[in-house]
Amino acid sequence: MVPTTPNPEHRDPEYWTAELMPLLQEIDTGLRHAVPKAKAFFETYQKKPINRPLLSNLIRYFTLEYLRAHGKEASEEENESDGSWGFEGLSNNGIEIHYRNSRIRLRKGVEAPMPNTHSSLQFYQQVFPEMEDTQIYANLIVLWNLNAKLEYDSDMQLIRTKGLSRNKKEVTYIFRHKVVLTGVDLTRVVESEYSLPSELPMTDTTAKTGTTDAD
């Protein structure tokens, strides 16, 4: 498929879900691959109860590995430090993916976290300071989460943020949308399915002796 540039003017979540579906499928597969590996770290190697914050970080680590191995332009989310907060090396930064002229941040959670740095506020406000260099047209957040049993069951949200509320206590959204994956392997080849035998009911009248298939 030849990548095209999504139209940044679109405010419809369905449009963006469709645009990003191949990536969302890949993220979903990556998370499905990462969660058991991360849990195995505690259950098999440490033989200790799961440490939830560390589990999340391990999932992020294995997901990032998976996405990179599958050709995605993914990295640790850029350092959010704006020089005054000293957030370098903060362990729960998400993953940043560049995909079809969009910048996507993959974070664990149910709400987009409050932007606490200038750079993350810019991200939330759809400001594209590097647009001329990077050709980024949209900033999006993909939130994923685990269920009560610490299993991943395709719980993903696609979010496009607008900024902060007037009282600066809440994140406002252009849209916030539960991702429904197609459940279809887009590369799948569906073979022909016969409801009748493939040999047709014609009798070979050239056969002088012997039996036919029907025998």
Partner: protein
């Protein structure tokens, strides 16, 4: 040497040549070719040989009686765009030649009775009735469509890939015949086959100028995507994702499913336009995800195996059928081989192989 002018015309059009083109190749004037085609003609051996060489048919081909009389006006086409006269003739000639080979081969077998109905009812009613005649229930997806049609007497012929033509059909001497362009995607060709089935059921004896092609579309829609099932399975809100999920089950394109949803008022015209906009934006308009394996007809090759063995002695077959060896070899591959020769074989949960008792 006495050669049949009708056969010269047939071979020339089969090859996609104009009279001038054949004349240039054979080293004579266009008028000479026109004269030959106008009647049975005594030609010099050299000219007959040149015509044979230019058209890739053996000399004996031109010494046969007239070709089968297929009324060109009876051909029902499913095409992308308006087809040129030469393309029309080329498709017609391929079907004519291959039907002749098929009928020769069929003399060596007890043929399958034709059970394709004729109907004067509305396309939707006719599609429902045809499903029933073919042993399909009213709501399930259609499995291997060509296999079912061949089991009910349809003669399916594969003709070369011409971009502007998908398929055409006609009745010949009581036989329902479909000519299908090679190299189409499985989902597209299934829709074409259902469309042609619509013509065969609804429009027997009518010329393509008399019939409304939309009737065949309506027939195909109901035949492959029954209304009752679509109303159950296409749930609102309809998204590209939810529609794409139906493709492997119904074995039709995402575009066909969107169109069907609009036709059945499951989505509005505006939603329809929006979904197509999305299709374009993700590149699915030109290349859809989820590949539906193309269906291949079987009867032609099965008959060839009766007469010329399995593996088929194509050289002997082409000699006797008066067709160029390379062409015949290529034609054979367009048909499904015997199941046991296929890696994995055609299979289905609905086809049960009984084991011998120990």
């Amino acid at each position: 040497m006495l050669i049949n002018g009708e056969r010269v015309r047939q071979a020339r059009e089969f090859k996609g040549l104009t009279q001038a083109g054949l004349a240039r190749c054979a080293g004579v004037s266009q008028a000479a070719i026109a004269q030959i085609e106008a009647s049975a003609f005594i030609s010099s051996d050299a000219l007959a040989t040149a015509i044979a060489k230019c058209t890739s048919f053996p000399l004996r081909f031109f010494q046969q009686d007239d070709p089968l009389d297929i009324n060109l006006g009876s051909l029902q086409f499913r095409a992308h765009t308006c087809m040129g006269k030469r393309e029309l003739a080329e498709g017609h000639r391929h079907a004519q030649v291959m039907l002749e080979v098929f009928l020769k081969l069929r003399k060596n077998a007890r043929p399958i009775p034709v059970k394709i109905p004729h109907s004067g009812a509305s396309p939707v009613v006719a599609a429902k009735a045809t499903r029933s005649v073919l042993g399909l229930d009213s709501k399930s997806p259609v499995p291997h469509l060509l296999n079912i049609l061949e089991w009910h007497g349809v003669v399916a012929l594969v003709i070369p890939d011409v971009p502007s033509r998908d398929a055409f059909s006609f009745w010949f001497d009581g036989l329902p015949v479909m000519a299908l362009s090679a190299n189409r995607s499985g989902d597209r060709s299934r829709l074409s086959i259902a469309h042609e089935l619509g013509h065969l059921v609804l429009h027997n004896g009518k010329s393509r100028l008399e019939v409304d092609d939309h009737e065949a579309d309506d027939f195909a829609g109901e035949f492959l995507m029954p209304e009752a099932s679509m109303l159950e399975e296409i749930r609102t809100p309809v998204t590209l994702s939810s529609i794409a999920a139906l493709k492997p089950r119904w074995r039709v394109s995402i575009q066909a499913l969107i169109y069907r949803a609009k036709e059945l008022d499951i989505i509005t015209q505006r939603q329809y336009r929006y979904l197509f906009e999305q299709l374009s934006s993700v590149g699915w308009r030109t290349k859809e995800p989820v590949t539906i394996e193309p269906e291949k007809p079987r009867a032609f090759r099965q008959l060839a195996e009766f007469v010329y063995g399995n593996p088929t002695d194509v050289r002997k077959m082409s000699d006797e059928m008066l067709i160029d060896n390379a062409l015949m070899r290529d034609v054979i591959t367009k048909y499904a081989p015997k199941a046991e020769n296929i890696q994995g074989g055609p299979h289905s949960s609905r086809v049960v192989t009984l084991q011998r008792r120990a």
